[in-house]
């Protein structure tokens, strides 16, 4: 019999539900984005996000089941993002999932949000282990090594800002609207990386990241130019900033792939939509022994299909939550 998992994701500013068949097939995938609402504030406001989730949750669930043409009795399990994320936002998904599971006597499977991002890739291509995933989003910059399904080892992470945060802050310096990432990426395509900005390699052999120094260097460059009455082409600044971020991300990923002898390298998270990053990875990995997998944009940003894909593995591992499940903003990936 087919395994059909109803998955829910509300960790940040997308209210999402999806039905995933046998861990790999998207039966339905519904995302209600709040981005238009948060643009006013220049970033996601947790209280506003929580209010939107309450408004959207049952609508999104109904749509996901309707598109799938399924009744609750057809389902195998209900899955939900347990964390990490904004606590008030997580609570809406978690409580809706618990109520739904209780109403229909279904098993409840808790999922780590980053595991979800990684497993978005399994909706495209079967995973081959060992593998390495580079996760880049507004809240995360991590290199995760997996020796098998459901096993996660964080071999590198950011020590300060996430890459996506650095993009948003630099965009603000250049007076661009939120979210800044896509704007910088577009501008960078039109400029040349002629401005010398630092690369943060940290100590030799480290797979950790740091973007706060780069961010400060960009702000100082703009500040100094203004004081000298010079103008900097924003296109060139964007291109130079992006070149620094991409070079460090790509090079550390490649070195880790070599050291760990992986078969596949996956890209995950919202910043995976970035053209510069995609092009950089493709160029570095071309002709290498590592299979590079980059999911389409719709699966890079937050969605529930990825949660359903990750839940399928957890379900088979026997992982279950009871009705005391809570949202955990700082949930640990390695403890999964």
């Amino acid at each position: 019999m087919d395994e059909l998992i109803l998955a829910i994701e509300t960790s940040c500013d997308e209210t999402a539900a999806a039905v995933i068949k046998n861990g790999r097939e998207i039966v339905s995938n519904v995302v209600s984005s709040q981005i238009e609402s948060h643009k006013r504030f220049g970033g996601v406001v947790p209280e506003v996000a929580s209010r939107h989730h309450v408004e959207q949750m049952t609508l999104v669930l109904e749509e996901a089941l309707a598109q799938a043409g399924l009744e609750p009795s057809d389902l195998t399990a209900v899955a939900v993002t347990e964390g990490p994320g904004l606590v008030g936002a997580l609570l809406i998904g978690v409580n809706a999932a618990k109520a739904f599971a209780f109403a229909h006597g279904l098993p409840l499977v808790p999922v780590h949000h980053i595991a979800g991002h990684i497993y978005a890739n399994r909706l495209l291509t079967e995973m081959e282990f060992p593998l390495l995933t580079l996760i880049v989003s507004g809240g995360h910059t991590e290199l995760v090594y997996m020796k098998e399904h459901g096993s996660y080892e964080v071999i590198g992470e950011t020590r300060d800002d996430a890459a996506g945060e650095a993009y948003d802050k630099v965009a603000r310096t250049l007076n661009m609207p939120y979210p800044g990432g896509p704007h910088i990426d577009r501008l960078a395509q039109e400029g040349e990386p002629v401005i010398d900005l630092p690369r943060s390699w940290l100590e030799p052999g480290s797979y950790d990241f740091s973007f706060s120094g780069l961010k400060s260097a960009v702000i100082n460059t703009v500040h100094n130019a203004t004081q000298r009455g010079e103008t900097i082409k924003p296109e060139d600044l964007a291109a130079s900033f992006q070149a620094s971020v991409v070079e460090v991300l790509v090079e550390k990923t490649f070195r880790a792939a070599q050291e760990y002898g992986v078969k596949q390298v996956l890209l995950a998270g919202g910043v995976a939509a970035n053209k510069g990053l995609r092009a950089g990875l493709e160029a570095r990995f071309a002709g290498s022994q590592y299979e590079l997998i980059i999911p389409p944009l719709s699966l890079c940003t937050d969605n529930a299909a990825m949660i359903g894909a990750a839940a399928s593995i957890e379900y088979k591992k026997g992982k279950r939550a009871d009705l005391a499940l809570n949202g955990v903003p700082g949930l640990d990936l390695e403890a999964q």
């Binding site: 309450v54 049952t58 008030g88 409580n95 618990k98 739904f100």
Partner: protein, 233 residues
């Protein structure tokens, strides 16, 4: 009629099951503990204890707020999800109206209150009119001093109830003198069985999806954003 009542809008967590119009069970705690962890477990326990399957329910009644934003959302999310997926009716009831029921036989006015910080109150005015206990002045968030000025104009005895009374009792007594009467112990705890009864009597929501908490105030970011908009005009 079978009703499940849920109130997590403030510190008190309350769940009740009404079967064929009779209160068969009630769980109440007044603890600084996490509603998200405890609510569904308590619902499950009470439903099992009273021999009620989810499908047996006719209605879900929920305390709609005002109160703790997060607390209200937990109860409302659970109630909406249950009502929608079980295809049952949903009834939202003011959290203040639920609390006010504890004074429904008081000969005078009843003022339920929750602390809303910075000497503000979530409150409303309830009492008997034409033999019926009902809301007499809309629920609101208001500065305590301002509210007491309003209440004095009625020149009637007022019963104040709510678990946050200790924060405000002195100021109320100073302003209202002999007109103020204060609830004690259990009077201050909203009863989910009363929520269930109100849930049985009131009209259900026309659209379960559109049902939202009654926050009685905008998110702070919204307030600031609106201020900034007005400045630009």
């Amino acid at each position: 009629m079978n009703v499940l009542a849920i109130d997590t809008s403030n510190l008190v967590m309350g769940i009740s099951v009404l079967k064929d119009g009779i209160v068969t069970g009630e769980i109440i705690t007044n603890l600084k503990k996490n509603h998200s962890i405890r609510l569904m477990r308590a619902v499950d326990e009470l439903m099992k204890e009273t021999g009620t399957a989810p499908a047996d329910l006719d209605r879900i009644a929920v305390a709609q707020g005002p109160g703790s934003y997060t607390g209200v959302r937990i109860g409302v999310t659970v109630a909406k999800t249950l009502a929608w997926t079980l295809k049952k009716e949903l009834v939202g009831v003011s959290s203040l109206e639920v609390l006010a029921q504890n004074g429904k036989y008081f000969d005078g006015l009843v003022v339920p209150l929750f602390d809303a910080r910075r000497t503000q109150l979530f409150t409303g005015l309830y009492g008997r009119e034409d033999g019926e206990f009902k809301n007499l002045a809309a629920d609101r968030i208001i500065l305590r001093a301002e509210w007491l000025e309003v209440l004095k104009t009625y020149n009637r005895r007022v019963l104040f109830i709510g678990t946050d009374l200790p924060l405000h009792q002195e100021a109320i007594a100073d302003a209202m003198g002999d007109l103020a009467v204060f609830g004690t112990a259990g009077d201050n705890i909203p009863k989910p069985s009363e929520l269930a009864r109100l849930g049985m009597e009131k009209d259900p929501e026309a659209d379960v999806h559109a049902f939202v908490p009654s926050y009685l105030q905008l998110a702070e970011a919204e307030v600031n954003w609106l201020k900034a908009q007005n400045k630009q005009v």
